[in-house]
């Protein structure tokens, strides 16, 4: 039985190919570029093959525009801090993570860049009809968390970008990459940040930024790339412009293993939707989920009524061995939007490894807790 329900923090278990690929790297070693012996050629091929797999996953034909970072936080900072803000105004979704809110707060303090929020429904999903009336031309940038790490709401990115026109959009795909469909080219996304260790199920320390027009942002980190070494200037070509220093080759090998695993879901979508429905009927919990299941990813939270959230997480673990994350999930803005600030909630985040039986077990645990209290 798989009782690990904290995959939005980091995924576990990983597909077998992850450790196999990492072991393969440790057996032959070598760096990325910079020389031309076989070890290096092998590593360079693998790194570039991983880049292509990522490009494929997010639906872009622009593989060199996918630059490796150490996680989504790094990718988001690279873009937000590298951009220029002549209009001094940014618009964000109401379900943003601190990976976005904190760099924006820094920009506000240091450069006076203000932040507005997209009009939205009670569950935090952006209201397309109301958004159609927003004057997007007055903003330097829009930022949207594709899948909420609190209630699992999937934002209608394609429709929003269509409304935004030429105003750039950065999508935080930390929770969505590997879980829900992303079509960066078709949706005309300007930038997208992802992390390798959550929905993609790769190792920690891996991530990427997709940036359509590299001139939109200055690099965050400058240094050696193994290219143009005679110059003190950072190369302008992608991906080197944003990839100074030796990359996380071990992690990228693991990421390759995850991306090539081709794993599908082991539980049925209808079963998951049914579980959410059942939980919504329990009188001792308030369910935090999408109001419309079409916009629901496999993450949700519950707020116990008349009990501390940490107490519920403790009971789940000590009595039932169910691992969850309680509190604010680094997303105080999302909890404010959902009315659960400052206590937060208990979050359940699934993975492709969960089966219908695991969901049934979770259901039975919550039912027992509910019955014991009502």
């Amino acid at each position: 039985m798989n009782l690990y329900f904290d995959n939005s923090s980091t995924s576990f278990p990983k597909p077998e190919g992850v450790s196999q690929s990492i072991n393969e790297y440790f057996s032959h070693g070598g760096t990325y570029g910079r020389a031309a012996y076989n070890r290096v050629i092998e590593v360079s091929r693998k790194v570039e093959s991983t880049r292509s797999l990522l490009a494929n996953l997010i639906g872009t034909s622009l593989a060199p525009n996918v630059v490796f970072t150490s996680n989504a936080t790094h990718a988001i900072n690279l873009f937000i801090r590298g951009m220029r803000y002549p209009k001094k105004k940014v618009i964000i979704s109401p379900l943003e993570h601190n990976a976005v809110c904190r760099p924006l707060q820094y920009l506000f303090q240091t450069a006076g860049v203000g932040v507005d929020t997209f009009p939205h429904h009670p569950d935090g999903r952006i209201d397309i009809q109301k958004a159609a009336k927003v004057n997007f031309a007055s903003y330097d940038l829009g930022i949207i968390n594709h899948v909420s790490n609190v209630n699992g709401v999937i934002q209608p990115i394609k429709e929003i970008k269509r409304l935004m026109g030429n105003t750039p959009l950065l999508v935080d795909a930390s929770q969505s990459a590997g879980r829900v469909e992303i079509r960066a080219d078709e949706w005309k996304l300007d930038a997208l940040a992802l992390t390798g260790h959550k929905g993609i199920m790769g190792p920690t320390g891996t991530g990427a930024l997709f940036i359509r027009n590299p001139d939109m942002a200055d690099p965050l980190i400058f240094g050696g790339t193994g290219s143009n070494s005679e110059s003190y200037l950072q190369p302008i070509d992608l991906p080197d412009r944003f990839e100074a220093g030796t990359p996380n080759i071990v992690g990228i090998y693991g990421l390759w293993g995850a991306l090539s695993s081709g794993m599908g879901y082991s539980f049925k979508r209808e079963h998951f939707v049914e579980l959410l429905h059942e939980i919504s009927t329990f009188s001792s919990f308030k369910l935090l989920a999408a109001d419309d299941t079409d916009f629901q990813s496999d993450v949700f939270s519950i707020k116990p009524l008349g009990m501390e959230v940490s107490e519920l997480a403790r009971i789940l673990f000590e009595k039932f061995s169910v691992e969850t994350r309680s509190g604010l999930h680094c997303a105080p803005l999302a909890h404010r939007t959902l009315g659960t600030f400052t206590t937060g909630a208990v979050r359940f985040s699934l993975s492709k490894f969960h089966t219908d039986n695991d969901l049934d077990y979770l259901h039975s645990c919550l039912k027992k807790i509910d019955e014991g209290r009502s």
Binding site: Y32, G33, R34, A35, A36, V40, I41, S44, R45, V47, E48, R51, A63, P64, T225, G226, S227, N228, S229, E230, P235, D237, L238, P239, D240
Partner: protein, 79 residues
């Protein structure tokens, strides 16, 4: 694998490793003979890698590489 025509070698230098690997894949998939070699130091102070091809295949390889930015150097001797 195509015939070795032995008409001397040409070095293809790219702007970075991503481009070398991208070009290598195209060249290898089409079956042209090639080798990845260090960039000759008389061509660049660069420490990286480049692709050495047979000069007789240069035109067809360039057309297969389409819009990849490449610097071309013909070698007199095998490096």
């Amino acid at each position: 694998m195509r015939e070795e025509a032995n008409t001397g070698f040409t070095i293809l230098i790219f702007s970075n490793i991503h481009q070398v690997m991208h070009a290598e894949k195209i060249i290898a998939d089409k079956g042209y003979p090639y080798r990845i070699v260090p960039v000759p130091s008389n061509l660049s102070s660069e420490c990286g890698l480049c692709i050495r091809i047979e000069s007789s295949y240069l035109d067809s390889i360039l057309s297969d590489l389409q819009n990849i930015k490449v610097e071309i150097h013909t070698l007199n001797n095998e490096p």
